[in-house]
């Protein structure tokens, strides 16, 4: 009997699923996910959609920040590029969604790579500051390019459609978002089993050694910006299709901080972590509302305090995670899993 986590071959070490049970459990989970619209009504279905979109965006950010080590504060701006590209392609050009979503991703990838060029010379804090500047520059462009973006008033996006098929309503959209999210997660998971993904991780761990070992650092940094922004662009396109009307107010700098919070709380450099973090941060305000709702009958001032309460709890969650579980929920998940795997001889 095995009494530890042994990997005896490289194939085993590289496998996504450690056991057949894990694979079957995932299939079961996906089946349950597919049945969600049958049980969840309007509001919660909307929340689930937002969670899935956040998962895609957080995975994108995690590829860049968690796996490649390039800190980006420009995620909200890249998200807005994806959403506005969707507005232009679907609204103005009338293209169907199977064309719009990849194109929006590619446009965002191109923009992301342009702003990734400074990463040739900058790293750490300086890159964070450069992407912060990118955020404000893109925000300025979006607010002032009235003919394309509708300026501060915003712009409306038609329902996702392809020929006679129209995905209006949260339930229909859900069946677009769910497979797309699963597919993109699978791609990301596999990416880090390939040469490209390994190069990203090498750059994060030690960029000079990576260069010495034959990784073209600049090329792979730029590629990381591209892949990451592609994910974020797809998330932006889905966000546009879901929100149906977007304005610059939807993409404040706090959104970028929220997404960094997702990967910090979930776990940097972990695909599972992006999922955990996105679920946690998206659910946090909703759960808070559930708690505050009944209490506000006795404490009416809670309703006015709600937005500051939300902000405070978010900040506190980040601070507490950084102080007490810096590797995020994914690390905690693995600890718990390993404990039970070896139960009752877990020491």
């Amino acid at each position: 009997m095995k009494c530890g986590d042994f990997r005896e071959t490289y194939v085993e070490d590289m496998a996504i699923f450690e056991t057949a049970f894990a694979r079957r459990a995932l299939w079961l989970f996906l089946a349950a996910m597919a049945a969600v619209p049958a049980f969840a009504g309007g509001f919660w279905l909307d929340v689930v959609n937002r969670i899935l979109i956040a998962v895609v965006a957080a995975t994108g950010l995690n590829i860049l920040t968690g796996f490649t080590g390039q800190i980006s504060l420009g995620n909200a701006a890249f998200l807005s590029v994806g959403a506005y590209a969707t507005a232009a392609l679907a609204g103005k050009a009338g293209l169907p969604f199977p064309v719009v979503i990849p194109l929006a991703g590619l446009i965002t990838a191109a923009v992301g790579m342009v702003f990734g060029i400074p990463s040739l010379r900058l790293k750490g804090l300086y890159l964070a500051v450069a992407t912060l500047a990118a955020h404000f520059v893109i925000e300025f462009a979006v607010t002032h390019w009235d003919s394309m973006t509708g300026g501060v008033n915003g712009i409306s996006i038609p329902a996702a459609a392809a020929g006679p098929l129209s995905l209006d309503g949260d339930a229909r959209l859900y069946y677009l978002i769910l497979p797309l999210t699963v597919g993109m997660l699978l791609f990301a998971k596999n990416l880090f089993r390939t040469k490209v993904g390994k190069a990203f991780v090498a750059i994060r761990d030690q960029d000079i050694s990576a260069e010495v070992m034959g990784v073209n650092v600049f090329k792979y940094k730029l590629l990381s910006f591209g892949v990451s922004s592609f994910y974020v662009g797809v998330a932006g396109a889905l966000l546009g299709y879901q929100a149906r009307i977007i304005s610059p107010e939807n993409f404040p700098i706090t959104l970028a901080i929220d997404q960094l919070g997702m990967i910090i709380i979930g776990g940097m450099g972990s695909i599972l972590g992006s999922i955990f973090g996105a679920v946690f941060i998206t659910l946090l305000p909703e759960l808070l509302r559930l708690v505050v709702g009944p209490l506000s009958a006795t404490f009416p001032q809670l309703t006015t305090l709600f937005s500051s309460l939300k902000m405070g709890v978010f900040g506190l969650a980040i601070v507490l995670f950084l102080l007490f579980e810096p590797d995020g929920m994914a690390a905690r998940w693995h600890t718990i899993k390993n404990y039970w795997k070896l139960y009752p001889f877990s020491y």
Partner: protein
């Protein structure tokens, strides 16, 4: 010409406050290599605390101001002890996120106590304008530039001649050497955060006096100071001062002349466009220490 001069004077005033807040950034960065994204929140909190103490206790304004400074010293020390000290040795991204999380908490506290409405400031400066040449300049501007100059001079003397100041410079130069010379690096970190909180609070009070009120937008000041410190060089005190003045004048000129052409908002984005340019040409700024590292 009058328009130009007016813009330059406005720029100098705002720039002097930038310089003050930038000084806080630089002191923290020099001593502990942390970029404090909560600097704007320190400024906002200081500004609110001052006006709250003033209206609640009816003490003379200078006493309220003194109490605010005391509060800031304690705030800086508490933040360093409780939040930043456990983060020593953690990756850059964690420390950045910590200051961002702290910023979020501070904003929530301020919003929870004082709401989102503008809190009016008492008239702390005489209102009659003074004429400099052909231009009327409000006395508030002169007072604030004057106090910034005095404060910056005081800090230069402090760093140059006082025991604690020399210890701070030694720590910035090399923490190991400072430790082996018997300097308590922990106390220096606490001192750095206190100074940063104090200069931010002074900036907040001056800004509140000039604008006649304080609101949540004051927190954005922290982000706008980032281009300033990058221009001056993150680890240069003189750089923060020069950078502050240049950036203040630049954003006012850009706003004054380009806003009518581009339809508003240029003043807010100009420092960040300048930031991109600086980072691509001279990432270590005007006076920053150049760390050569080619990859």
């Amino acid at each position: 010409m009058d328009f130009f001069l007016q813009l330059v004077i406005n720029g100098l005033v705002i720039g002097s406050i930038y310089a003050l807040v930038g000084l806080g950034f630089v002191i923290i960065y020099k001593s502990s290599s942390i970029l404090n994204f909560a600097q704007g929140e320190f400024l906002m909190l200081g500004s609110y605390v001052c006006v709250a103490v003033f209206t609640a206790t009816k003490v003379p304004f200078l006493v309220a101001f003194g109490l605010t400074l005391l509060f800031s010293v304690l705030l800086g020390m508490a933040v360093e002890r409780l939040l930043l000290r456990p983060m020593i040795g953690e990756p850059v991204i964690s420390v950045i996120m910590l200051t961002l999380g702290m910023a979020s908490v501070l904003r929530a506290i301020v919003q929870g106590i004082w709401g989102t409405e503008t809190v009016p400031y008492p008239e702390i400066f005489p209102t009659t304008p003074v004429r400099i040449g052909p231009l009327p300049v409000s006395q508030g501007y002169l007072y604030s530039v004057g106090s910034v100059v005095v404060l910056l001079a005081a800090f230069s003397v402090f760093f140059k001649f006082s025991r604690a100041g020399i210890a701070m410079r030694a720590t910035a130069f090399s923490q190991q050497v400072a430790l082996s010379m018997g300097i308590s690096v922990k106390r220096i970190f606490a001192l750095a955060w206190s100074i940063a909180a104090v200069v931010s609070a002074v900036g907040g009070v001056l800004l509140g006096g000039i604008r006649g009120g304080v609101d949540g937008a004051f927190a954005l000041f922290g982000l706008k100071v980032i281009p300033v410190v990058i221009l001056g060089g993150l680890d240069s005190v003189a750089g923060a001062i020069v950078g502050g003045i240049i950036m203040g004048v630049l954003e006012n000129l850009a706003g004054g002349y380009l806003d009518p052409l581009l339809g508003g908002g240029v003043k807010e984005v100009a420092p960040f466009i300048a930031l991109v340019a600086i980072l691509s040409v001279k990432p270590y700024g005007l006076f920053g220490k150049v760390k050569i590292e080619r990859v």
